[in-house]
């Protein structure tokens, strides 16, 4: 399914396509890019995009964005995701960057934005806590003012790729007496500060993506406060809005569906009743993808005409994640007996893994993708958002 494109937009799409084909690093084509790459490998593509001026599609031109139209942004997203490139670190470029250029002061913009664009600084997100998952307003990590510093104490968790991070942006409580949303501030903390400890959390797929981050008497200069004290909730919500854009994941789902079809064709005989069952299930998912893709294109067309899409991002998040979870589930079923095996982490080509290559990541993907309906505001929270904003309930 294609957007109907002007000549210029079509030329732009071809340019993006060619750039990816010529430049995407071979070192990043590993069985599971999300878990198998070192920090340096992950940054290879980031640096190439930075050099090309394409690292931050969402950003305004004055801060280093490419100045693309909504259609161009969509095309870039579509081409990169169809080609299976690893998206640049969202916590840096998509999340904290826009908060800094929207709510930060001049000094903060000058200090942080260029290093985000270049990839010199790696950011992680200090939102969730052991007692605060979807209910973010209940954060308990405390920041107490002491002269020119805040003294921060608390425990952040599910912090993705904190093991690589130079900085963490945190929601901290600066007013314990105020209503939950009113006493929160948005603080930038150097991960090298004394009192910051990172402890790995191994998830059910065996990989190390997320971490606990402990903050013990960490002294943070007041210059690292974003905006006003106790206004952090506003900035946090702004950021979550960005987080949920483009979670439809059409390109990724399409690629994984094609691979699923290959596996079914190769593994299961056509006269096996299971074959027909798979064919039906796959067709169902394919139609789900088609309907979501048509919806995404409809929203893009509306946005280009200046129509506010409302909480479309919530719809994309719900359906996009449900679809991808279903694909990983079917893929795990399709590999049959070898679905019992799982790769060891950290990944090494020396470990023995039985069965065909195409099945090697089926187990871990199936397990890992359970997270999709939980993070970024669980799918139940997304339904609450639509119920309130669209249905007026």
């Amino acid at each position: 399914m294609e957007l109907s494109l002007s000549k210029e937009d079509a030329a732009f799409r071809d340019e993006v396509r060619a750039f990816i084909a010529e430049n995407y690093p071979k070192a990043m084509r590993v069985p599971n890019p999300e878990t198998d790459l070192t920090k340096e490998q992950m940054l290879l593509w980031h640096r190439l995009l930075h050099k090309r001026g394409w690292i931050a599609p969402l950003w305004p031109k004055e801060h280093g964005g490419p100045g693309w139209s909504i259609t161009q942004r969509f095309l870039f997203e579509q081409e990169t995701s169809r080609a299976g490139t690893l998206p640049p670190l969202a916590f840096s470029v998509t999340m904290v960057g826009p908060v800094i250029y929207t709510f930060g002061n001049e000094t903060q913009k000058k200090r942080f934005l260029p290093r985000i664009l270049s990839g010199e600084d790696w950011w992680c997100q200090g939102y969730s806590e052991p007692g605060s998952g979807s209910d973010l307003a209940s954060v308990r990590t405390k920041a107490v003012r002491d002269g020119d510093h805040y003294v921060v104490n608390g425990h952040k968790t599910w912090t993705t790729l904190a093991q690589h991070a130079d900085w963490i942006f945190c929601l901290v409580r600066t007013d314990t007496a105020a209503k939950p949303q009113a006493g929160i501030s948005f603080l930038l903390i150097d991960m090298k500060s004394p009192g910051v400890t990172v402890r790995p959390i191994i998830t059910i797929d065996g990989s190390h993506e997320v971490n606990d981050v402990f903050l013990e008497n960490v002294r943070v200069p007041v210059q690292n406060l974003i905006g006003e004290e106790n206004k952090g909730w506003t900035y946090a919500k702004f950021l979550l809005g960005n987080e949920r854009t483009s979670m439809a994941g059409i390109g990724r789902s399409t690629r994984y569906l094609k691979r699923l079809k290959q596996i079914v064709q190769t593994e299961i005989a056509e006269d096996d009743p299971a074959f027909t069952e798979f064919v039906k299930e796959i067709a169902r998912v394919e139609l789900d993808v088609l309907a979501l893709e048509a919806t995404e294109l409809r929203v893009i067309a509306q946005m280009s005409r200046g129509i506010d899409p409302g909480p479309a991002a919530s719809l994309f998040k719900i359906r996009g994640t449900e679809i991808f979870q279903r694909i990983t589930d079917l893929t795990h079923q399709a590999v049959g007996n070898y679905g019992l095996a799982i790769r060891e982490h950290p990944f090494s080509a020396n470990h023995f893994m039985p069965g065909p290559d195409y099945g090697h990541t089926a187990s871990e993907k199936y397990l890992n993708s359970r997270k999709l309906s939980i993070y970024g505001g669980s799918n139940e929270i997304q339904r609450n958002i639509i119920a309130k904003a669209v249905l007026g309930l």
Binding site: T266, L290, R298, L315, I386
Partner: protein, 393 residues
């Protein structure tokens, strides 16, 4: 892709809306359905006077040149108002076939009356054992001098009791299930040896079993090339599906609005239904199902307008996905209305019945799921499979 209606299309939509609002409320519709004939010639005249019956046809044949998008606009409004008059049968099916495969003489003979609202048509393709396959028919047409002699029984012909003319499919050569050898004929509904047994349908319409016992049809009434009726019917089905999806979207729109409205006023346990989260989330899923259906329906109608390849695969996909979505919404609308949803007095059950009927017309969602899945475009190439198979240790 979102359709931005042209001025003409917007005018078409608002005039249909106005006419139905003024003259086709639910009570009027109930009275129409309860008459002996079961439809309203006066309303049909009004539709024709508004230009609806001429809207989709090409200007070269005397139509208004609106194409599939005009049909989509009309059918959506008809779906919202549960219009029973045979617009689909006369304009979309018969009119479409005549425009598509009819000779110059046939177009001139038939189309002006259709556009003026002077003649009613029905399409007799199904048979007792054909299920949804156009080629699985036993009715025969023997060429005898200047006539064809038709024998057989056509099943569940919607609108036949109202029709002046029928388009009948019959085998002129080949055996059961041969793709070639089926031909189409324009048959006078009052022809000698043609017998109708009328019955009511679940959605308040009228249909008939049509028995043809050596019915003589002049050779000039052969529609399209002899033996190529299946291809003509397949193209006709694509157009019918596009129209039925739009009608379903109209019905779903009303069901969602009615359910939401009811949930905001109906109280149980001292609270409105809409305050219960389990019902909020259900209604969000109904909202998403409708949004996706709108997107796919628009996408299909745009593809047919542009004559894009694989439109038929997309039609099957839309029939499936919109069919599932409509069934889900209709069932939940009754469920959330509680006992009231079961009452014949309320319009909710009547939308439910129309949707149940749409899901049977031209193939149910399961039939089209398999048709979508077995389309060449849905399959991975043998090259892909070889690649996957060789991808083994």
């Amino acid at each position: 892709m979102d359709i931005q209606l042209t001025e003409e299309q917007e005018l078409l939509r608002s005039s249909v809306q106005r006419l139905l609002r003024d003259r086709y409320d639910f009570d009027t519709r109930r009275k129409i359905v309860a008459t002996d004939e079961g439809w309203s010639r006066a309303h049909w005249k009004a539709f024709a006077e508004l230009g609806l019956c001429a809207a989709p046809f090409a200007e070269s044949t005397g139509g208004l040149g609106g194409g599939p998008l005009a049909t989509m606009i009309v059918m959506r409004e008809f779906g919202r108002n549960l219009v029973v008059e045979p617009f689909l049968e006369t304009v979309v099916l018969a009119g479409g076939l005549i425009e598509d495969v009819g000779s110059e003489a046939q177009r001139e003979a038939f189309l002006p009356d259709i556009m003026a609202g002077e003649s009613i048509w029905a399409l007799a393709w199904a048979e007792g054992r054909s299920r949804y396959d156009f080629d699985n028919i036993a009715t025969t047409a023997r060429h005898q001098g200047d006539t064809y002699v038709l024998s057989g029984t056509k099943a569940a012909v919607l609108g036949a009791p109202w029709a002046d003319k029928l388009i009948v499919s019959a085998r002129t050569s080949g055996g059961p299930r041969d793709h070639n050898g089926v031909s189409l004929f324009a048959v006078n509904r009052h022809a000698a040896n043609l017998h109708l047994q009328g019955f009511k349908t679940i959605d308040g319409r009228r249909a008939a079993e049509v028995a043809l016992m050596n019915v003589q049809v002049p050779a000039s009434q052969l529609l399209g090339t002899e033996g190529e009726g299946v291809a003509a019917l397949e193209a006709c089905r694509d157009r019918a599906i596009a129209a039925l999806c739009a009608e379903a979207v109209g019905a779903m729109t009303e069901l969602n609005a009615a359910t939401l409205e009811y949930s905001k006023t109906r109280k149980q346990f001292g609270a409105t239904l809409g305050s219960f989260q389990v019902l909020q989330h259900r209604m969000v899923d109904m909202f998403i199902a409708l949004e996706e259906s709108i997107s796919l329906t628009q996408h299909l109608n745009l593809s047919l307008s542009a004559g894009e390849p694989h439109g038929s695969r997309l039609a099957s996909g839309a029939k499936t996905k919109v069919g599932y979505a409509a069934r889900f919404i209709a069932e939940q609308a009754i469920q959330l209305h509680g006992g009231m949803g079961m009452s014949d007095e309320l319009n909710v059950g009547h939308y439910f019945k129309r949707i149940a009927s749409i899901n049977v017309q031209f193939g149910d969602p399961t039939y089209h799921l398999m048709r979508f899945a077995q389309h060449e475009q849905s399959k991975v190439t043998s090259d892909d499979v070889r690649k996957a198979a060789s991808n083994q240790r």
